[in-house]
Each structure stands twice: as structure tokens, then as C-alpha cells.
């Protein structure tokens, strides 16, 4: 890696979080090359050579160029995805696959680059069953969960573990009359289960009788735990009803957070927990690409500084400390 090379930021144009991170890096004199996969190939080009000496070449945008051997870090945010609207469906599918495995493959193979996070590791961590399994292995309390396409299995799970909620395993684009829609997380009774469950995979999970939620954002080795009080089952449905406070995790949680991220090879994670009446933290999920910046003005925690430090690859002893944000113990 290079101390002087650029930070690559991969995201779509409308990304206010990327904007604040890029501005902070700009103020620090750290060069940034920003691009979106949707810009390829008309406004984004790459020529990579791979020889016995490794990977070399250049990535270019209309405003910047990056030497692929000198990339300091890559901030993987929210790219819009490859599109080839001028091609028919079959040719477009071929072109997208070539772009994904070509440009995407090069971006996933940069020598010495720190990935925040590596896109393939993000992909691994976005599978809910993998996340729950990793959480259990890391030592978190995990709500009993079943993944099934068998209506009888779903009913018996609900009877055994009620109250139970249904959650989609993934949230693909689903438009009704042009409006993006999702399945609302809601409680499910055994009587609600019908043969439709046999149509595909479903995830049912015991509902934790929670007193509050916690979002823990890990940025490199810094841990930002924030308690979220609301009267909502899913706090993400109405941000105006949330109250935030910085909390200290119970013993063992910080080590488990790092064990979880290490298992997937991630350096950033947005973890969600439910706190029950006994104060126990229950793992709900970890989003490897979760939003986080809105919590800085709500809590005063120096999250932007932590993210810029990480992407800049600033050595720990030279970092500024604005207060707040737990420093994790290094695990070996």
C-alpha cells in the first residue's frame, strides 16, 4: 500500500455519508477517486495488467486517475450497479457479467489495499443465516430462528417459541406502482401460516421482549455503542421517534463484536441488538454496509474522524481523539 495513494470511494452519486467522509479526507490532504459502477464503461475505465509481478494498471474517471498499485484503501458504499440499457436483455446480461467479474474482480484484488469493507466479504456477511451462525459462534445471545419452506415446521416453531416474527431473508427491489416496498416485520401466529410458506424460504424468529435497541457501529478498532429508545418494533421505520444515548456494552460484547467481524474479514460493521428486561443483549443482525453518520450529530461521538482515520490508514498513535468511542483491545 501507499501512504500517498488515493482512497477509492465506490458509491452512487446521491450518498451524503460518502460526501462527508470524502470532504474530511479532502481536508486532510488525502486524495480521493470517487466512482460508481453505473458509470462503467462510459465514464469509468480500467486497464489492469496481471503478470508474475502481480497486478498493475490504471483506473480512470472523467476527473481522476488511480494507479492500481498505489491504492491506499477502498471505501465500498452503495454503488448503483452495472447497467447496459442500450443492449437487449441477453446481451446486457452478458455485458453485466463481464463487467462484474472484470472490473469488479480487479477492484477486489488491489495489492495492499485496505477494504472498508471488501465487497466479497460484504456479500458473505449479508446472508442472514451466516450472520446468525457467526453470531452464535462469537458468543452472542441469538434469538431462536428457523429458516424453512415447510409450513408444518413453521407452525411448530411458532408454537414452541411464541411470540414469533417473520423477517425477509433479503430485501430485493420490489416495486408496486413504482414505489419501493418491503415486508413489514410483524408478529406471526401459527394460524397465520398457510401453504404459501411452501413457495420459498422463510425466516421466523422468536420476538425478544425488548426494553430498548442498541446499534453498535464498529469502525476499525473503535466501537460506538448507542442505545435507541422508541416504542417501535423496528426502529428504522420512523427516525423521528427515536432517542439516542451512548452506552457501555455488558462484559464480553466487545470481544464478541470483533470475533464476529474477524470471522467475515470485515473492518466495519453496524450491529443491531435488542435489550431484554434483564439487560441481556440479543444479536439481531450485523449490516456490513449499514448507515452510521446520522448517529454522530445525535451522540457527539467522533465517528467521522474514526472513518477518515481508518481510510487514511493513520497509525493509532497519530490519531486525534475527540472523546467518545471505545478503543477495542487488539485480539491476537
Amino acid at each position: 500500500m501507499s501512504d500517498l495513494g488515493p482512497v477509492l470511494v465506490v458509491t452512487n452519486l446521491d450518498d451524503p455519508t460518502a460526501d462527508v467522509v470524502i470532504s474530511e479526507l479532502h481536508d486532510r490532504g488525502v486524495p480521493v477517486v470517487r466512482f460508481d459502477s453505473g458509470d462503467f464503461p462510459h465514464a469509468l475505465s480500467v486497464t489492469a495488467t496481471i503478470t508474475s509481478n502481480g497486478v498493475g494498471g490504471t483506473l480512470s474517471t472523467p476527473s481522476r486517475a488511480a494507479d492500481l498499485t498505489q491504492v491506499r484503501s477502498l471505501y465500498y458504499r452503495r454503488p448503483s450497479g452495472f447497467t447496459f440499457p442500450h443492449l437487449d436483455e441477453q446481451d446486457a446480461r452478458f455485458a453485466v457479467a463481464q463487467a462484474r467479474y472484470g472490473l469488479g474482480g480487479v477492484l477486489a484484488s488491489l495489492p495492499g489495499c485496505l477494504y472498508v469493507n471488501h465487497p466479497h466479504r460484504i456479500g458473505d456477511a449479508e446472508f442472514k443465516p451466516s450472520g446468525l451462525a457467526a453470531a452464535a459462534a462469537a458468543g452472542f445471545h441469538v434469538p431462536p430462528t428457523v429458516i424453512t419452506s415447510d409450513p408444518d415446521a413453521a407452525r411448530s416453531f411458532i408454537k414452541q417459541h411464541a411470540p414469533v416474527i417473520y423477517k425477509p431473508l433479503s430485501a430485493p427491489l420490489y416495486r408496486i406502482d413504482g414505489v419501493s416496498c418491503t415486508v413489514e416485520v410483524a408478529e406471526v401466529a401459527a394460524d397465520d401460516i398457510d401453504e404459501a410458506v411452501s413457495g420459498t424460504a422463510h425466516l421466523f424468529q422468536q420476538r425478544i421482549e425488548k426494553t430498548a435497541d442498541v446499534r453498535v457501529t464498529i469502525i476499525g478498532d473503535r466501537v460506538f455503542p448507542v442505545r435507541i429508545d422508541s416504542d417501535l418494533l423496528d426502529w428504522r421505520t420512523d427516525y423521528s421517534r427515536l432517542r439516542y444515548s451512548v452506552v457501555s456494552p455488558p462484559p464480553g460484547i466487545v470481544d464478541a463484536l470483533h470475533a464476529y467481524l474477524a470471522r467475515f474479514g470485515l473492518v466495519f460493521g453496524a450491529f443491531d441488538f435488542a435489550i431484554d428486561r434483564e439487560g441481556q443483549w440479543w444479536f439481531l443482525e450485523c449490516n456490513p454496509s449499514g448507515q452510521w453518520y446520522w448517529l454522530e450529530p445525535e451522540t457527539g461521538s467522533p465517528m467521522l474522524e474514526a472513518m477518515a482515520d481508518l481510510l487514511e490508514r493513520k497509525p493509532p498513535q497519530r490519531r486525534g481523539r475527540g472523546g467518545g468511542g471505545m478503543r477495542a483491545r487488539r485480539r491476537r
Partner: protein, 75 residues
């Protein structure tokens, strides 16, 4: 299925500022909007991709190219 919570975009157009590499937001009249006037990334419902799907990275197992809303559902 239900719509995502409404998130007003508050801008008409966004382009990349070549110098700062940040987004420049414009209203319907073509005026530049001040920072913060076009919304913040709090909710996770931009109709964009995260991670695995059609992001230029290759699939971490699914090999899919599905567009993803980037939203999470949770308890």
C-alpha cells in the same frame, strides 16, 4: 408488502463536483442546495445496491445480480 417509510429526496438533480469528489445537489430551478438541505443518510432505503448484488464486485455466493433496496428489516 408495504412502502418504505417516505424519504423526501429534496433535490432535483445531483452531479459530481470534480474538485471535491462530492455530490452537488440542485433544486428544480437549477440552484445549488446547501449541504444538509438534501437529506442525510439515516434510513437505509436508497434504491441502490449493497454488497453482493450487481455492484461490480461479483457475488459472494449468490452470483446474482439482483437490485437491492439496501434496506434492512429487523426486530
Amino acid at each position: 408488502m408495504a412502502p418504505y417509510p417516505a424519504m423526501a429526496s429534496g433535490y432535483a438533480r445531483v452531479e459530481l463536483d470534480r474538485t471535491t469528489q462530492t455530490g452537488r445537489y440542485f433544486d428544480a430551478d437549477g440552484h445549488v442546495l446547501e449541504v444538509g438541505k438534501h437529506g442525510t443518510s439515516s434510513g437505509t432505503n436508497p434504491a441502490t445496491n449493497t454488497g453482493n448484488p450487481s455492484d461490480g464486485s461479483g457475488g459472494g455466493g449468490s452470483g446474482g445480480g439482483d437490485q437491492d433496496t439496501g434496506n434492512d428489516t429487523d426486530q
